[in-house]
Amino acid sequence: MRPMPHEFAIGEVFMPPLLVAGFLGLLAAVVTVHLLNRYRLSRFFFYPPLVFLALIVIYTVLIGTFIVGV
């Protein structure tokens, strides 16, 4: 079952779930590209900056669907 969308709060500062999912998606994409650079797998991509953007979107959607609940 997918998690229910809800707001996150730090103290009394509320944040929308998409922001949290987006932030986690960005972190995951950064770790992925770091590993791709580290093992020189990045050379197989035509235009890595676009791939990085795509990874952010993919991870955000996945995290938002299955973990955070957007």
């Binding site: 770091h34 650079n37 990045s42 050379r43 991509f45 890595p48 900056p49 791939v51 953007l53």
Partner: protein, 720 residues
């Protein structure tokens, strides 16, 4: 004894307190604009501060007028207004490059969004914003100027005079080294450091003169002559560098045997440098310069091959130029220091050098600025409740324009200084300000924070932290006539900083990648294509003058060839280790140095070709020249496709064969002239051309040798 950093911090803090006091007492809103003027124009010397302050004021006035004009021209027409605003900002950004007065264009560009966007959605206040912005900026400049002039004033004259003395001293020592080398002494590696220091100091002299002429009357009165003097020193440096580049061709030649009066010119130029240094120290010159005529000893010249003769003639031409340029320097400084008599003529101030034609790298920077501006404007329009949306447009434009001047700075380097500034401001805003009452307490807080920040973060490496710390302190505390407190201010600013850096990071890669390895390869590629074009001009008919379009294209490509090595030198330090692979930074630096040699030789070749067009003897060599040129063009084309694709031994043998054919043609053309006993004037242009081709060939082969050491596969590899 109070240290310089304490004095500077005191002056800045005092000026800030006075500025806020005046603004708040008069009921002027947004006093942090005046604070910005104090922060960014509060520099060490009076001249520096005045110069930047004046540029800020005039830039703000111009930008405010332009902003109001754009609003008046495009009322109720959002897209046309945004297009016109981005064209204006793009124009100002382009004009920032290539001038010491870039700050005027910078302020003009950022004032337009400040005036037009910050008053929204109620446009009726745009005029108020324009006037308020101009008023606050002028207040900040005037207050700091008074403080810097009245309290511990520091003149820029010392820095300027010191820099001039350093350059002259270095040029004197360089000349001594090079003459000793020409006269047979072994190569001295210490000249490398002298050359680097002279070039670096010369590069900053223009800005130092801008500062010194504002705070020193004696320099203001002869400012045109000083500008001419700086240009003459730059010309002399270039001539000596061209002369040094050809030493390899004179390796096996005893220069004293073939060039008359070498010791005399060595002594005369040395005396002139000594006299110039003395005049800089206000000592009258004991002797006047005497003309030394350098001549080639024609009786022995026939002992040399044609290549060697061309090298000797080229050396003589460079030494003659050095003799003339040192005399001009002597006359200029004699006039500037007042050692001339009333009847002596004023030194001729050379006309300002023609502005360089369009620069593709500046256009790339302009494209990035425009892209960032449009992204932020679209976010401002279409994303509802975007935190501090107007500041996103303004600060995004500010940072990307600063990146135009320093394209090696990635957007992520701004994140830490911005967060640091936000933390400093938040501490003051949340924990201190609510407990303050009255200006005495508020002023004390302002003084303490500004003093602390500028005192602790005084070193050049901490400048981004200092400026962002002070700027965001003022923005976050949002001290105003009607003070309010809300945690949302801090929270919104924190989110704003993240959105700002994120939007800037996007445009590091789109539409043009500003990664160091991509820029490095792009500039290298353009350099070789420009060299290829310049060589193709030899295919034009020699008896016809080039058209205006051809002249413009030649000037454009000459500019590319001249500036590319300096641009590449800037990018070398930004290349990441992962892109270098097995290559060391020193090897890349050597590669760039070899490109500089190609640049000098190409320049000399184009000049030699232009001078030879009127020589009827050259007609006999046209086919040989074209054949050599076609071969070298092919090499440049291959290098443009892949710099590491050259094979050193193969290229060397190709070029040597073509040069041998050219030498044989020249010999054939000159023999009848020799038989008639005609003077070597007939062959001067031929030797000049021959020397230029030989020099370019050798520089090209040296580049290919250096390029073989670079790991091009890693450099060209795609990376995140």
């Amino acid at each position: 004894m109070i240290s310089d950093k304490a004095k500077n911090s005191f002056k800045l803090s005092l000026a800030m307190v006075i500025t806020y006091a005046v603004a708040l007492s008069q009921g002027w809103g947004t006093p942090f604009w005046a604070g910005f003027a104090v922060t960014f124009c509060g520099l060490t010397t009076v001249g520096d501060s005045l110069n930047k302050g004046l540029l800020r004021v005039f830039g703000t006035l111009f930008g405010a007028a332009a902003g109001l004009a754009l609003l008046a021209m495009f009322p109720q027409d959002r897209w046309s207004f945004m297009t016109a605003m981005s064209i204006f900002i793009a124009f100002c950004t382009y004009m920032m490059g290539g001038t010491t007065r870039w700050y005027f264009w910078f302020m003009a560009a950022i004032t337009v969004p400040i005036v037009t966007v910050t008053a929204e959605p109620d446009a009726i206040y745009n005029f108020n914003r324009a006037i308020l912005r101009s008023q606050q900026t002028t207040l900040g400049i005037v207050v700091y100027s008074l403080v810097s002039v009245l309290i511990w004033p520091v003149s820029s004259r010392g820095a300027f005079d010191g820099a001039v003395r350093k350059v002259i001293g270095n040029q004197r020592r360089l000349f001594t080294h090079y003459m000793a080398h020409l006269l047979g002494a072994p190569d001295d590696k210490s000249s490398v450091q002298l050359r680097i220091e002279a070039t670096r100091t010369l590069g900053g002299l223009g800005a130092l003169l801008d500062h010194a002429e504002l705070d020193t009357l004696e320099i203001w009165e002869v400012r045109r002559q000083w500008r001419g003097f700086v240009a003459q020193m730059t010309g002399l440096q270039d001539t000596m560098e061209c002369w040094r580049q050809m030493f390899q061709e004179l390796e096996e030649i005893n220069a004293q045997r073939f060039i008359k009066a070498l010791p005399e010119i060595d002594a005369e130029v040395g005396n002139r440098f000594a006299a110039i240094e003395g005049m800089l120290d206000d000592q009258a010159p004991a002797l006047q310069p005497t003309e030394v005529a350098l001549e080639v000893d024609r009786t022995h010249l026939s002992e040399l091959s044609h290549f060697q003769r061309s090298a000797v003639l080229l050396a003589v031409s460079y030494l003659t130029r050095i003799e003339q340029e040192t005399r001009t320097l002597f006359d200029s400084i004699r006039y500037i220091r007042g050692f001339t008599s009333p009847n002596d003529p004023k030194p001729v101030v050379d006309a300002a050098a023609a502005r360089a034609p369009l620069d593709p790298d500046r256009f790339a920077g302009v494209l990035r600025v425009t892209a960032v501006l449009w992204l932020n404007l679209l976010l401002y329009i279409y994303v509802p409740d975007l935190p501090v949306a107007s500041a996103l447009v303004i600060l995004g434009t500010v940072i990307v324009m600063l990146q135009f001047l320093h394209p090696q700075a990635s957007s992520k380097v701004f994140l830490r200084p911005l967060m640091f500034g936000l933390v400093v401001g938040s501490v003051a805003y949340i924990f201190i300000m609510p407990h303050l009452s009255g200006y005495l307490e508020l002023g004390t807080m302002i003084f303490a924070f500004i003093f602390g920040l500028t005192y602790i973060l005084h070193s050049p490496r901490q400048i981004p932290f200092k400026f962002m710390g002070v700027a965001l302190f003022m923005v976050t505390t949002s001290i105003d006539v009607h003070q309010h407190y809300s945690f949302l201010t801090v929270a919104n600013l924190a989110v704003f900083v993240l959105i700002l850096v994120g939007s800037l990071l996007v445009w590091d890669h789109f539409p043009i990648s500003f990664r160091a390895e991509d820029r490095f390869q792009a500039i290298l590629n353009r350099f070789f294509r420009s060299c290829e074009f310049l060589l193709s001009t030899a295919e034009c008919p020699w008896d016809r003058l080039p058209s205006r379009l051809q002249d413009w294209r030649t000037a454009f490509h000459l500019n590319e060839v001249a500036l590319s090595p300096q641009k590449l030198a800037g990018w070398v330090h930004a290349l990441p280790a992962a892109a270098l692979g097995n290559t060391t930074p020193a090897q890349v630096q050597d590669l760039v140095t070899s490109l500089q040699a190609i640049s000098y030789r190409m320049n000399a070749l184009v000049r030699a070709q232009a001078a030879s067009r009127s020589d009827s003897n050259i007609g006999q060599l046209v086919e040989a020249i074209r054949s050599w040129g076609a071969g070298v063009q092919k090499i440049f084309r291959r290098l443009a496709a892949g710099p590491g694709s050259g094979e050193y031994a193969g290229f060397q043998s190709q070029l040597d064969a073509k040069l041998a054919r050219l030498e044989a043609r020249i010999e054939g053309a000159l023999e009848p002239a020799d038989d008639r006993g005609a003077s070597a004037e007939a062959g001067r242009n031929m030797y000049r051309l021959l020397g230029s081709y030989r020099g370019l060939s050798e520089a090209l082969v040296n580049f290919i040798k250096q390029a073989a050491a670079i790991d091009w596969t890693r450099l060209r590899e795609e990376r995140f």
